[in-house]
Symmetry: C2
Subunit: 653 residues, 2 copies
C-alpha cells in the first residue's frame, strides 16, 4: 500500500459557483431539503406519508402509536440530517440547524439505555433485535445515522449525535465480532462498513475500523449466517416476496468478498459494499481486498453499466443480471445505485488517482443522478430507463416498475434524500490531493482552499465545462509555493489546449489520464483549459444485444436522447445515416438551457403499402422519408409531459 494517500479537499473549504451546478445546489438548499423535511413529517399532502419522524417520536416516548413504514424508515431521517449537515458546512443556516438539533434531541431520547437505536425494533419487535440481519436493515440504519453524525459534527462542531452513534457503535461492537460469544453476522444491506470507516476517521477509534473489516470478512462465509439465523428464528420472513435469507447473491453473500469476480445481486448493496471495501483496503493495505475492488470495478464498468452510468439491469431484486445484458426499457437503473457507484469511484480515486474512476463518476453524475430529480426539485425518478414507450409501459407488466414521469415521493424513499446528500456534498468530489499534487477530478466552478507548507492556497475555478469544454483556474497563494496541478483529461475529448498565464502550454497526458503542471505557483497564476467537444456516435460492445445496430450521441459529459416532444411518436422508426452531420446548438430557453443536437435522419417503413392495416407484409419496400432528428441531453427528459424517449437510436448502415 502506498504510504501517502490521496485525500479530498474538505467540503467546508469549497463553494460551488457553476453555470450548470449552482442551480442544483440552490434547489437542494432551498427546495429539496425543506420539502423532504415536510415529507419526513408527513406534511406533504400529495405524497405517501413517510412516518419516519413520527416513529422516532414514538420511540422517544413523546407520542404513542405503532411503527409505520418500511423497516429501514429511520435511514431517511439520517440521510436528511446528513444532507442538512453538508448544507450547514458550506453555509450557516440557523433555522435549518435548529430543525436538525431538534431532530437530534428526539433521536437521543429514542436511544435505548444500552446504546441501541432503531425505532422499528424498539417499537414493534423489542425482543427481536439482531435476529434477522438478512432482511431487517438494523446495521444499515445504524450506518446512515453514523454518516449523519460524522457530517453534523464536522459541520457544526456539535458532538451530540456523534456521541449517540459512538455509544451505538460500541454496543454493536459488543454484539458482533470474532470472539466466541459474539454474533458472526453482517447486514443484508451493506452501509455499516463504509460508515464505521467514517467514524474511525472522525474519532480515531480503531475498534470501528476493525468492526468494519469484521463485517466484510464475514460476508459470504460458510456455514451461512443467514441460514443459521433463519433457522434459529423459526423460518420467519420479513419481505415475503423476496428470498433474502436464501438468495445469497442478492446481498453479495454468495462468496467471501475477496473471492467475488462479478458484480451480482442488488446493485445498491453491491456498490455500498465496494465503497466500504475500498475504504478498508486504503487504510489497512489489504491488497487482496483492493484487488477484489478492482476486479469488480472492471466487471461493472466494462460489462454491466449503462452508458448513462446507471447499473442494475433488472427490476427483480433491483439487481445486476449477467455480462452485456443491458436492456434499456426494462432496466432498473436506480438513482441510488449510480450514487453508490460515485461513492465507489470516489474511494478508488483516494487509492490511486486514475482518470477512469473520475470519468465514470462524471458519467453517473451528469446523466443518471441529474435525471433522478426534476428541475423543480420536488419530483424524482427512482428508476431511470434509457428507452420509454408510454403506451407499452402502461399495458405490459415487464414495465411495472417504470414511471414515465418523475414522482412526488415514494413509500420506499431511498432515492430523493440520497440525491440531496450527494448534491449537498458535491464540492467534496471536485479535488483530491496527494503529496504535493492537486488533482481536479470534476470541472465544477467555484472556490477551494487548502494548506500547503503552512500557507493557504486558493483555487478559483470558472467552468463552462459541461456545455463548452472551457475551464479557467486562478490561483491565490499566501506565498509562492511549489506544487503540481493535475488536470483530468475526460474520456470524451479529442483535444486539449492549455494556456498558463496566457501562454500556450505544451501538455502531456500521463498514463493515469491527467496533465500535470509542476511549478512554483503565485497569486494570480492562471490556467486556461479548453477541451475539444466533438459529438460522438457512441457504440456498445458487440456482445450487447440491445445496442447492436444503434448509436447513442454524447457531447461532453452528456449522453443524449430523442424525445417524442421534438421528434414525434414512433421513435423506433428513426435511423441516423452513418455519415450524417451532427450539429450542436445552444438553446437557452429550452429545459433550463441546454445544447440540442440535430442531424439529418430518415423515418423508415412509412410506405403506402401499410395503409390497409395488415400486421405483416411480404411486399413492403424500404421507402424512408428524410426528417431532422433533434436530441436533448438525457438528464433533461420527461420535463414536457408524457412521451416516448430513447437513448439508443438505429443507425442506417
Amino acid at each position: 500500500m502506498a504510504t501517502s494517500q490521496t485525500k479530498f479537499i474538505p467540503l467546508r473549504n469549497i463553494r460551488i459557483e457553476d453555470r450548470f451546478w449552482s442551480e442544483y445546489v440552490r434547489l437542494v438548499r432551498e427546495v429539496v431539503v425543506p420539502y423532504q423535511w415536510r415529507a419526513l413529517n408527513d406534511e406533504v399532502p400529495e405524497a405517501e406519508p413517510s412516518h419516519a419522524v413520527h416513529n422516532f417520536k414514538i420511540a422517544a416516548g413523546q407520542l404513542s402509536g405503532n411503527f409505520e413504514g418500511m423497516v429501514f424508515q429511520d435511514s431517511d431521517v439520517a440521510k436528511w440530517l446528513e444532507a442538512a449537515a453538508y448544507l450547514l458546512e458550506t453555509k450557516p443556516d440557523p433555522e435549518l440547524e435548529s430543525l436538525a438539533d431538534g431532530m437530534i434531541d428526539i433521536i437521543a431520547l429514542a436511544q435505548q439505555p444500552d446504546g441501541y437505536l432503531n425505532t422499528y425494533f424498539t417499537i414493534k419487535e423489542p425482543g427481536q433485535r439482531w435476529t434477522n440481519l438478512a432482511e431487517c436493515h438494523e446495521l444499515y440504519c445504524a450506518g446512515h445515522m453514523i454518516e449523519a453524525a460524522v457530517a453534523y459534527d464536522r459541520a457544526t462542531g456539535k458532538r451530540k449525535l456523534l456521541d449517540i452513534v459512538c455509544r451505538f457503535a460500541d454496543h454493536i461492537d459488543s454484539v458482533f465480532g470474532p470472539e466466541p460469544e459474539k454474533l458472526k453476522g453482517y447486514d443484508g444491506h451493506q452501509e455499516i462498513e463504509l460508515a464505521l470507516v467514517k467514524l474511525y476517521r472522525a474519532t480515531g477509534e480503531e475498534r470501528y475500523l476493525k468492526l468494519s473489516e469484521f463485517f466484510l470478512n464475514q460476508r459470504g462465509t460458510r456455514p451461512h449466517f443467514y441460514e443459521q439465523e433463519w433457522e434459529k428464528r423459526g423460518g420467519t420472513v420479513h419481505f415475503k416476496e423476496l428470498r433474502m435469507s436464501h438468495d445469497y447473491p442478492y446481498s453479495q453473500a454468495h462468496l467471501p468478498v475477496r473471492e467475488q469476480q462479478t458484480a451480482e445481486g442488488h446493485s445498491v448493496r453491491a456498490v455500498y459494499m465496494l465503497t466500504g471495501m475500498a475504504d478498508v483496503a486504503a487504510l489497512t493495505g489489504d491488497t487482496r481486498l483492493l484487488e477484489a475492488c478492482k476486479t469488480l470495478w472492471g466487471n461493472i464498468v466494462s460489462r454491466r453499466m449503462y452508458i448513462t452510468g446507471a447499473i442494475g439491469s433488472q427490476s427483480y431484486g433491483e439487481s445486476f443480471t449477467s455480462d452485456y445484458d443491458l436492456p434499456g426499457d426494462t432496466v432498473y437503473a436506480e438513482t441510488c445505485a449510480s450514487i453508490g457507484l460515485i461513492f465507489f469511484a470516489h474511494r478508488m480515486l483516494s487509492i490511486e488517482p486514475k482518470s477512469e474512476y473520475a470519468d465514470v463518476m462524471e458519467r453517473a453524475l451528469y446523466n443518471t443522478v441529474v435525471s433522478g430529480m426534476s428541475q423543480d426539485g420536488k419530483h424524482f425518478f427512482y428508476v431511470n430507463p434509457l428507452e420509454v414507450n408510454p403506451g407499452a409501459v402502461h399495458n405490459n407488466a415487464i414495465y411495472h416498475h417504470i414511471k414515465t414521469q418523475r414522482q412526488g415521493w415514494f413509500g420506499c424513499a431511498c432515492c430523493p434524500p440520497n440525491i440531496a446528500r450527494l448534491l449537498a456534498s458535491l464540492g467534496s468530489y471536485i479535488y483530491t490531493f496527494r503529496d504535493r499534487t492537486v488533482y481536479t477530478q470534476l470541472y465544477i466552478g467555484g472556490h477551494a482552499e487548502w494548506e500547503l507548507d503552512g500557507s493557504s492556497i486558493t483555487l478559483e475555478q470558472q467552468s463552462d465545462y459541461a456545455w463548452e469544454g472551457k475551464v479557467q483556474f486562478r490561483i491565490t497563494a499566501a506565498k509562492p509555493t511549489a506544487f503540481t496541478m493535475a488536470l483530468r483529461v475526460p474520456d470524451w475529448t479529442d483535444s486539449v489546449s492549455i494556456t498558463l498565464n496566457g501562454m500556450p502550454y505544451a501538455a502531456f497526458i500521463g498514463d493515469n489520464g491527467y496533465i500535470e503542471i509542476n511549478r512554483v505557483w503565485s497569486t494570480n497564476d492562471r490556467i486556461e483549459l479548453e477541451f475539444g467537444m466533438p459529438i460522438h456516435r457512441m457504440k456498445g460492445h458487440p456482445l450487447v444485444r440491445h445496442t447492436a445496430g444503434r448509436i447513442a450521441l454524447q457531447r461532453g459529459p452528456f449522453v443524449y436522447c430523442l424525445e417524442e416532444a421534438d421528434n414525434g411518436a414512433s421513435l423506433h422508426q428513426l435511423y441516423i445515416p452513418r455519415d450524417s452531420e451532427l450539429q450542436a446548438q445552444s438553446s437557452k430557453d429550452l429545459l433550463g438551457g441546454v445544447h440540442v443536437i440535430t442531424t439529418e435522419a430518415v423515418r423508415g417503413d412509412t410506405s403506402d403499402a401499410w395503409q390497409d392495416g395488415a400486421l405483416y407484409r411480404k411486399d413492403a419496400e424500404w421507402r424512408p422519408t428524410p426528417v431532422t432528428a433533434t436530441f436533448i441531453p438525457y438528464y433533461a427528459w420527461a420535463n414536457r409531459g408524457e412521451g416516448e424517449m430513447t437513448v439508443w437510436v438505429k443507425e442506417l448502415l
Copy 2:
C-alpha cells in the same frame, strides 16, 4: 344470418396421410396420449405428479386422501378423454377404449347425486360450490368434460359420459339463468360457452344453447358479478398473486361482450370466449354478436398477433397488452392460445368461407402449435418465444417464464393435452362444405368422404404442400355429381397453376380467396395444384417497435428462424443485406427433414477496436464480416441443445 351454414366434414370420414403431418398424428396416437395417461396417473417419474386421476378416484370413493394439484386439474382428464375419443373415431383401439371406459366409470362414481361434478369442490370445499366463479374454474372444467363426452359418444356410440354431462348441464341450468332465484354468474375462464353449443348440437336440447348465450350475455355486466360474489364470500381469494375478481379485463369481463373492441386479458380465455361467441352467433343469427367476433378478430390479427400465429404479449396474466406491442423475447405466446385461435378461426370459417381465417389457422398450426411439441412427443413448450438468448433467460427475471428447452410436463398442464386433442382431430379442420361447395381450408394429405345427392364422394389429397407447394386431388364419385371444389389460395403464394385431368385450368381467385371449380365430377377426376413458393422477407407494421429494421423469412406456411447451432452465438450481430439472394434447400437428415434457407449476410461490429474490453466506444467503425446465414423453420427450433434463436433478423438497409 345466412340460411345455409358451412359445415365441416366429420372427423370419422377423414384419414390423414401426409408427408408432414402423418408423423405428428402417429406421435399423438403412439406416444403423446399413452404418455399423458401415465402422467395423469402420476406414473412419469421425471415429471411433476398430476394427481388428476387420483382426485377423481377420491371423489368416486375409491381412495381416501386430499385433493392435490390446480383447482382445474379435472380438465386435464377431460382433455385426454377428448383426444382419446378423436383417436378412436378415426381408428379402433380396444386397449385405449378400455382405458377410457374405465376412466368414465370413475367419473360416473365421482358425480354427485344432483348431477354436480368437480373433484376439487367435492373433496376439498364441499360447501363452497359456485361461490368463486371468477377464480375456481368449475364451469371451465364442466365445459371440457362436455367436449370429451360429445366426442366420445360420436366416436364410440357409448352414451355413458354424455349422460353424465347432460345431468351435469341440467344441474348447471338449474343453478344459473335469468330467473330471479338463479345465479347471474359466468366462469372466470371461458369454455362452458363453446362446450354447451357442442352439447346442443349433439343432443338437440335448446336449453343448452340458451344457457351458453346466457353466460355470454352476463359477462361484463354491472353490477359486477365477481365483486358481488367476492363480497358475499367475505373477500377470500384463491389465486393470491393475481386479482382475478377485480381485474375485469383479465377474464374479458370489463365490458359486455358485444361492446368489446379490443382483445384484452388472458389470451386463452379470450379466444375460447370468441369461439363460443361465433358458435352462438352462427346458430342464433345474432348479428351484433357476429360483429363483435369480427371486430375482435380484426384487432387480434392486425394488431396483437405474432408472425408465428402466437398471441399474448406478456407473461403477467398470460395476456394481451396493447396494439402493436409485440416483444419477441418476453412474449407469452402460449401454445393453448394459438390452439384457441385455431378454434376461433375454424368457427368463423363455418360462418363465412374466407381464406383469411384459414390463413391464420395455418399460421398458428404450422408454427406455434407444432413448436409446442418436441419431435419425440414427450416434451412441450407452454411459452413459444420468438427470440431467445439463454444467458439472459437464466439471469434476467423478465424471462422467468421462458424455457430454452421443451419440458416433460407441467404442474399446470393445459398445453400438452390441448396439443393432443387438436392434432388428434386435425382431420376435421381440412375441409368445409356449404351447399354444393367443398372448401379445402388446409392442404393436408389423406382421404375424405361425404354424401351428396345420396351418393358417396371420396377425395384423395396427396400433399407436398408444406415444403413444395404441390397438391393433387383425386375424386371418386359413386355417380357423376355436380359440385364445386373451392381451393384456398394461401396468403403466402405469388402464383397458382392448376391442371384439371392433366389440362391447364385457367384459375380465377374469388374475393373470398378461393379458386372455385364447378363441374360434374366423376371418378378419377384429378386436380393438380402448384403454389409458387417464394421466400418472403416479411416485415412488421411500422408501429411495431420490435420488428422495426428487421425481417423474418417465410416460405410456404413456415416462418423461419436463426439458431445458434447453425450460425454461432451473438445472432444480434447478423444483418441480412436488402438485396441478398435467398436459397431454399431440402435437408432430409436435418430435424426430421426440413428445407433450410441460406443467404449471404454480414456479421457487424467485430472490429479490432473492441479488443481492449471497453463497453462503449466513440471510435468504433463499421467493419462487417461476410458470413452465410442459415435459417430453419421456427417450429423445429430447440432440438439441438440449448442456444440462441431469433425469428426477426436485422436488415442491412
